[in-house]
């Protein structure tokens, strides 16, 4: 699975990724995150430490790809890759390598997180924010125009700690995109307000939402395949029974073809395999749905006022786990030498 972040420079993409990794070292409703590469994990934890003490990462100059495991109750459930881009890549011509890769990765993404800075959205002159959202909307709509499967779009409203209160006009620049999402049969969108500074608000929600559709798709696929193989097993089993079954067994054996009894056995093995996959991910999927049930999902009948009101109410605070904070203290002490 692939998750892609879209957003301009300084919007807080790297800050978000590091904060999320730090927070999800503890179980959040049973979910946690593990980097495949320990060095990547350590780097993100170090950044998370810095962020909690008010030191933000420098602008990303190169594309970095990370591979993670989403864990549930400490069991590895899904692996996914997540790329961090130089923000200016979204406004670069295609002769810029990063821009080219970004466009290609967007087309392959299973979930997309679109980052928008609340500070810029609240500015009196919204021109800059509107133009930035326009380009992101363009890249997104171009990327998904040929998809034939559901995709999640998390619209991450960053730096909400700088807002006194959510106001309707924050959502004005999204009017067109909302209409596209509502008109699409494949895109599920949500506004997710986030803060990553002295306090961490809603940090796990965007990633888990971005993964949601793919995860649900996998459980549905496993269920479908389970039923498919089980039905075939029943069919072969039925065909192998009775006088006709015995005659067919004789003919198949004589011709060297796979007998119905053997086919039934093979199909049952496949059904069991799908059942195991289904059982492995069923519980996490249910937990994920429950965890995300109160998100401000984009819907036809909601107004900007509704989104503002739901965003205002959706403010779940998180802390970095203790061991990261302790680690931070040690590092600070070392800093004296």
């Amino acid at each position: 699975m692939k998750v892609v972040m879209l957003g301009n420079s300084g919007v807080g993409k790297t800050t978000y990724m590091a904060s999320l990794y730090g927070i999800m070292q503890q179980k959040i409703d049973g979910f946690s995150l593990k980097a495949n590469d320990t060095a990547d994990g350590n780097r993100l934890l170090e950044l998370a430490n810095h962020i909690s003490s008010g030191r933000y990462p420098d602008a990303t100059s190169n594309r970095n790809e990370y591979n993670f495991y989403l864990q549930y109750q400490e069991k590895e459930i899904f692996s996914f890759s997540w790329s961090d881009y130089r923000g200016s890549a979204i406004r670069s011509m295609s002769d810029d390598k990063q821009s080219e890769i970004l466009v290609n990765e967007l087309k392959k993404a299973d979930g997309i997180m679109m980052f928008c800075d609340c500070d810029a959205l609240m500015a009196k002159n919204k021109l800059k924010a509107m133009n930035e959202i326009r380009r992101i909307t363009y890249l997104f709509t171009e990327a998904v125009k040929n998809i034939e499967h559901p995709i999640s779009l998390a619209i991450v409203l960053t730096k909400i700690d700088k807002l006194v209160q959510f106001q309707e006009d924050i959502f004005n620049p999204f009017e067109g995109l909302i209409s596209v999402i509502n008109a699409s049969e494949y895109i599920l969108g949500s506004f997710i307000p986030v803060a990553c500074s002295h306090q961490f608000i809603n940090v796990p929600l965007p990633l888990l939402f971005a993964l949601r559709f793919s995860v649900v798709y996998q459980v549905n696929l496993a269920e479908y395949m389970l039923n498919y193989h089980y039905n075939r097993y029943e069919e072969f089993k039925k065909n192998s029974q009775g006088i006709m079954g015995n005659i067919k067994w004789f003919v198949d054996s004589w011709n060297g073809d796979t007998t119905d009894a053997k086919n039934a056995e093979l199909e049952l093995a496949k059904a069991v395999q799908q059942y195991q996959i289904f059982e492995h991910i069923k519980e996490p999927v249910l937990a994920l749905n429950k965890y995300l049930e109160n998100l401000p999902i984009i819907e036809e009948n909601l107004t900007f006022k509704d989104y503002a009101s739901i965003c205002e109410k959706t403010k779940i605070k998180y802390n970095l786990p203790n061991f990261i904070a302790q680690n931070k203290q040690k590092q600070d002490t070392f800093g004296w030498f």
């Binding site: 125009k145 067109g176 699409s184």
Partner: protein, 351 residues
């Protein structure tokens, strides 16, 4: 599909296109307009940002190359992020319309206009400030000459291109339908509230009379557009707040017209297949009823196979018709309140 914009210098063609693109690429009622080349999107947006941020007018359109003395943009028109139709948008140096037609780009433009599937005629609202035809149908020739008699609006040149198109259609063996025309009244904020819809329609009908003759067959739309209220140009800079109005409608009209043409073509093809299928069915029946049918089984089987192929073809065409009709339903909703004419008759978009 090809769309060509006709309009003289300073008719607001490029500004209109930039505004329409900026507005529609953000999404509007589920529709989006996207440049098929991401670099093209950036170039358009750089010009748009210069226009609205720094109030710098876009530079005059420059030819793409020596061989192609116009500028072509490739766009995709989508609904719910799914492509409805792809098209070419042809922009050109405004002066080409007024120039001597022996100039390469002017010649090329006339040729492109004739090959287009929809023409946009850009008429700046400042030329529609004075009444040309009153509500009793009397023409103020002085006012008309002020607009049509000079080269400013290139009315004569546009009408001559339209006549060329109509003559070409008459000579050719196609369906005989002229291309749809969107008359885009740019900078409409200049006359908003000062002139009624009916008065403006009368003037436009007088200026572009060939389009509005009874049974002329031209499908025409008259649409006022604006980039915002109280927009004006001072020292080559745009002053006023940008807030585009109606900029998407001419494009929606072009798409609707193309879909309308497509559905007719597919229906014709459906009818042809149906006719062939009926003939084969009759042949089979006739052969089967003959005394020697037993000896012609191979021939009959061949015809039955051809019948099956035609049934598959018909099912495909039915699906195509259904798809186009669905697309038409989507765009027709947008054209509810738009002034559309077929010849001199005002009509409504239908599916």
């Amino acid at each position: 599909m090809k769309i060509t914009m006709l309009g003289n210098n300073a008719s607001g063609k490029t500004c209109y296109m930039l505004g329409m693109y900026a507005f529609m690429s953000m999404g509007l009622k589920g529709f989006t307009l996207t440049a098929t080349d991401p670099d093209q999107d950036l170039r358009l947006m750089d010009q748009w940002e210069a226009l609205i941020g720094d109030n710098i007018l876009p530079p005059p359109t420059q030819p793409q190359s020596q061989e192609s003395p116009i500028y072509i943009y490739d766009f995709s028109f989508n609904y719910g992020a799914k492509p409805l139709i792809d098209f070419e948008w042809i922009d050109y140096r405004g002066g080409a319309l007024a120039d001597d037609s022996s100039r390469a780009d002017a010649t090329f433009l006339r040729q492109k206009s004739r090959q287009s599937d929809c023409l946009f005629l850009c008429i700046p609202a400042e030329y529609l400030q004075e009444e040309i035809v009153n509500d009793r149908g009397e023409v103020n020739n002085r006012a008309k000459l002020k607009v049509a008699g000079t080269n400013k609006l290139a009315v004569n040149r546009i009408n001559s291109i339209l006549t060329e198109i109509q003559q070409e259609i008459k000579q050719s063996k196609n369906d005989g339908q002229p291309v749809p025309i969107a008359i885009v009244i740019t900078k409409f904020d200049l006359i908003y509230g000062k002139r009624s819809k009916e008065a403006i329609t009368r003037d436009i009908q007088e200026l572009f009379n060939p389009l509005f003759i009874e049974n002329s067959g031209w499908l025409t739309m008259i649409c006022p557009v604006s980039l915002g209220k109280d927009i004006r140009i001072e020292d080559n800079k745009i002053i006023g707040e940008i807030d585009p109005v109606n900029v998407h409608l001419p494009l929606v009209f072009a798409i609707y017209s193309q879909l309308r043409k497509d559905v007719i073509t597919v229906k014709d093809s459906y009818d042809n297949i149906q006719e062939r299928k009926n003939r084969v069915e009759n042949d089979i029946k006739t052969q089967q009823s003959k005394w020697n049918s037993f000896f012609k089984q191979k021939e009959i089987a061949g015809k039955v196979s051809s019948l099956r192929n035609q049934e598959t073809e018909l099912a495909k065409k039915e699906k195509e018709i259904q798809d186009i009709t669905q697309k038409m339903q989507l765009v027709a909703k947008e054209l509810d309140k738009v002034s559309m004419f077929l010849g001199n008759q005002e009509i409504k978009a239908s599916v």
